[in-house]
């Protein structure tokens, strides 16, 4: 399964790109699993994801907690807490 990952703010800056396609193994069930797996793929990912408490996520543009199963998601976004307004 290929998932489109999108990143924003300092998560995007640390990873060095705003989006990428990934194909996680079957052992990746939740968003937190996905983040953990990605953190092992490169130093920039590890740096971006080092403090899980500061990460938020959206699955197919719906905001979710990190323990949410990714199911058959097409797009998963990882970003810091929002600061608009």
């Amino acid at each position: 399964m290929t998932i489109r990952m999108v990143y924003f703010a300092w998560v995007r800056e640390r990873i060095g790109t705003g989006e990428e396609s990934v194909a996680p193994p079957a052992s990746v069930v939740t968003v937190a699993d996905l983040v953990g797996w990605l953190a092992e793929t490169s130093e920039p990912h590890a740096h971006a994801f080092e403090d899980r408490a500061r990460l938020r996520a959206a699955v197919d543009q719906e905001f979710v907690s990190l323990d949410t199963p990714i199911g058959r998601a097409q797009e998963i976004a990882i970003f810091p807490p929002v600061t608009g307004g």
């Binding site: 924003f8 703010a9 600061t83 307004g85």
Partner: protein, 149 residues
């Protein structure tokens, strides 16, 4: 009437007020957030999540319309680079009576602060930093989840 806009261009208050008033009700409450001119920020940059942002703002507006029986809800948020004194966000609630308009206006901005995917980066001199989320924004948004008293 619902109007949502996420835009690069400056926010035109007169045009938005005309839109809010055209709903034909007696009361319009608005909130405008500005880049503060007093704390040394040279440039403020707003990043967002295209598509998800508009959907989140629409949901906030729909919830306000339903909860306060509004005639209209407007949310306009600027993205991209901006400077001190410029408008970042404008929200408006139009209702028959002032209590509903004022409460709904507060709801729109409180919810937007926690529910819409925007991120602010401030540049002061040569230093840029991402603005940290504030706990009291979550407290402000959460009070709308309490059962009505």
């Amino acid at each position: 009437m619902i109007h949502i806009s996420v835009q690069q261009s400056a926010i035109d208050i007169a045009a938005e007020m005309t839109r809010a008033e055209a709903a034909g009700a007696g009361a319009v409450a608005t909130f405008t957030g500005l880049v503060r001119a007093d704390d040394g920020v040279g440039t403020l940059e707003l990043e967002h999540y295209p598509g998800a942002t508009e959907a989140a703002l629409l949901r906030v507006a729909e919830q306000a319309i339903e909860r306060w029986t509004l005639q209209g809800a407007i949310i306009v948020h600027r993205v991209g680079p901006m400077h001190p004194g410029e408008r970042i966000v404008f929200v408006a609630a139009t209702a028959a009576h002032r209590g509903a308009a004022l409460e709904a206006c507060t709801y729109l901005i409180d919810r937007l602060k926690t529910d819409a995917p925007f991120w602010k980066r401030e540049t002061r001199g040569a230093t840029a930093r991402w603005v940290e989320a504030r706990d009291n924004d979550h407290a402000a948004a959460a009070r709308w989840d309490q059962p009505e008293t």
